[in-house]
């Protein structure tokens, strides 16, 4: 019985995310098109609704090209190593309402440990292709993912500090309830929470190699980065891995800051929590697509500057702000102290960045004549 229920849950979760993958890949093209004053795919089925099916069939029947000099074993393994950890991540997301699969005591740790394996997959893909574009793309991707893991973990620690647990389920429980009867107790509605949420969003964009941080796949200079030599179903797997990464990252953001499956209003509590969870997740995925349509790709030095000179210090300040908030017991003192600290940090960063443009300019250490 227990096994059946578990399998049912796994089935529901996997079905949902696979469907979301199909819908998101269509929605991304549609929304991008609309934003760029185009129509988007509209040939397959009504309004192009069956486009994902057509894409899937195309991917499946496409020739699987492996370069002659490629390392066949790694070339084959890389997409699998990419997707498998991402699927594992879905297991610990706190959907609530009985759909939560496992409540690991060290859930957050599990999340980061497992998601970091995808870096190895990127390396395997890049190196095994025996293509310099692939190798360069993989190097960029790994450098980027390693760098952005620092602010990501630093930001994810703040809710851990406040909730006093690494378990995602516990964290969602900590955000239950409503202040003054209407405002939910989500972490995002605290000064450190909103900053943390934004930081988490930005860093998980970078972790997932999404625009504006998609320079490992910058077409103009690297063809397609580590995906250059992939086609057919293996490419589809990578594509799926990228999307699953976005879903898992969004799920993490929902769990850490957006109250998991909590309803935004007490009136709406009759809707089961997992539906709320999925709604929030879908909204976040939509924002990811929106960001992709809006922002241009960064340069590699800007990327590193943003991480080490912008996000990491902000994450540290946010950590302190969360501590202040926690020990001042929330309330207006918390708002004044923590909020003041964060606004001060923002103003300082603003000053530093806008007054001295030089920190964002490229420096040539080696090419100096």
């Amino acid at each position: 019985m227990w096994l059946v229920i578990i399998q049912l849950k796994i089935g529901i979760i996997l079905t949902f995310f696979s469907l979301l993958f199909a819908v998101a890949s269509l929605a991304e093209r549609k929304i991008l098109a609309r934003i760029q004053n185009r129509r988007g795919p509209n040939r397959v089925g009504p309004c192009g609704l069956f486009q994902p099916i057509a894409d899937g069939i195309k991917m499946l029947i496409k020739e699987d090209v492996v370069p002659r000099k490629a390392d066949r074993a790694l070339h084959f393994l890389a997409p699998i190593v990419m997707v498998a950890p991402m699927v594992l991540l879905f297991g610990i997301l706190p959907y609530g309402g009985g759909l939560t699969l496992v409540d690991l005591e060290v859930g957050l740790l599990f999340f980061f440990a497992v998601s970091s394996v995808s870096e190895l997959a990127v390396f395997m893909a890049g190196w095994s292709s025996a293509n310099k574009y692939s190798v360069f793309g993989a190097m960029r991707a790994i450098a980027q993912m390693v760098s952005y893991e620092v602010p990501l973990v630093l930001v994810a620690i703040t809710p851990v500090m406040v909730a006093g647990s690494l378990s995602l389920v516990h964290m969602v429980e900590d955000q239950a309830g409503y202040a003054i009867g209407v405002i939910p107790n989500w972490f995002v509605l605290t000064p450190w929470g909103i900053v943390g949420f934004l930081l988490l969003f930005v860093t998980s964009l970078a972790e997932a190699n999404r625009t504006p941080f998609d320079l490992p796949e910058g077409e103009s200079e690297l063809v397609a980065g580590h995906l250059t030599e992939y086609s057919g179903f293996k490419y589809a797997l990578f594509f799926m891995g990228e999307y699953f990464g976005i879903f898992a990252g969004s799920g993490l953001a929902v769990a850490l800051f957006l109250g998991g499956g909590g309803a935004p209003l007490p009136l709406l509590q009759w809707i089961p929590p997992y539906l709320w969870f999925f709604v929030k997740l879908v909204v976040l995925v939509g924002i990811v697509i929106w960001v992709r349509a809006s922002l241009p790709r960064m340069r590699i030095d800007q990327l590193m500057d943003l991480c080490w000179k912008g996000l990491v210090p902000l994450a540290f300040v946010n950590l302190i702000a969360a501590a202040i908030w926690h020990y001042s017991g929330g309330g207006w003192q918390g708002w004044i102290l923590a909020g003041g600290l964060l606004v001060g940090a923002y103003l300082m960063l603003n000053r530093v960045v806008l007054r001295s443009r030089c920190s964002w300019e490229r420096k040539y250490y080696l090419a100096k004549s």
Binding site: L109, V117, K368
Partner: protein, 175 residues
């Protein structure tokens, strides 16, 4: 349970052997990563959740990735093969590893954990680990932090050495 432990032990051994025996630098690095992951599994199988996932996060996610990154950066043409299996200093190597093994074996033997006299705490939860880390092990923890920071700064200094005006290097580059 025992079967699982044996499987994991076999994985670790195979991974470790592959790390030193395979003649392809990238395969070596990846086998090392697999060994790390198997070690993490061992911890998990023994009920040490925290240390198990930390092992995977730090070793597979960071150390192995760094090794791989270094391979990408330094030896793109030598990646396909590294020298012969047995190096010239193999006698020394065997001696060193025997010494290390002997020390560890002696330590384990003396500690009495083999006799089962060590009392395992009933439950190692995050709470107690955190409290231990921040009370009895506070100084080592902080010292490790300082050490890592120093290493980080040192690495930055090495990597970003700008030629000072008038120094030899800038003279050279001017010529």
């Amino acid at each position: 349970m025992n079967v699982v432990l044996f499987i994991i032990a076999a994985l670790i051994l195979v991974g470790a052997l592959a790390t030193v025996c395979v003649r392809n630098l990238v395969y070596c690095a990846l086998s090392l990563a697999a060994t790390f992951a198997a070690l993490g599994m061992l911890y998990l199988a023994l009920g040490a959740e925290f240390i198990g996932w930390v092992q995977i996060l730090v070793y597979v996610g960071a150390v192995a990735v760094l090794i791989v990154f270094v391979i990408l950066l330094t030896a793109p043409d030598r990646m396909r093969s590294v020298g012969p299996l047995f190096s010239r200093s193999r006698i020394l190597g065997v001696g060193v590893s025997l010494g290390v093994f002997g020390t560890i074996a002696y330590a384990v033997h003396k500690s009495g954990s083999l006799k089962g006299s060590l009392s395992m705490p009933a439950e190692t939860d995050m709470q107690s680990i955190g409290e231990e880390l921040l009370s009895s092990y506070l100084v080592p923890l902080e010292a490790t932090g300082v050490l890592l920071t120093v290493a980080l700064i040192g690495a930055v200094l090495f990597a970003r050495e700008e030629p000072v005006e008038g120094s030899e290097e800038s003279q050279e580059s001017k010529d």
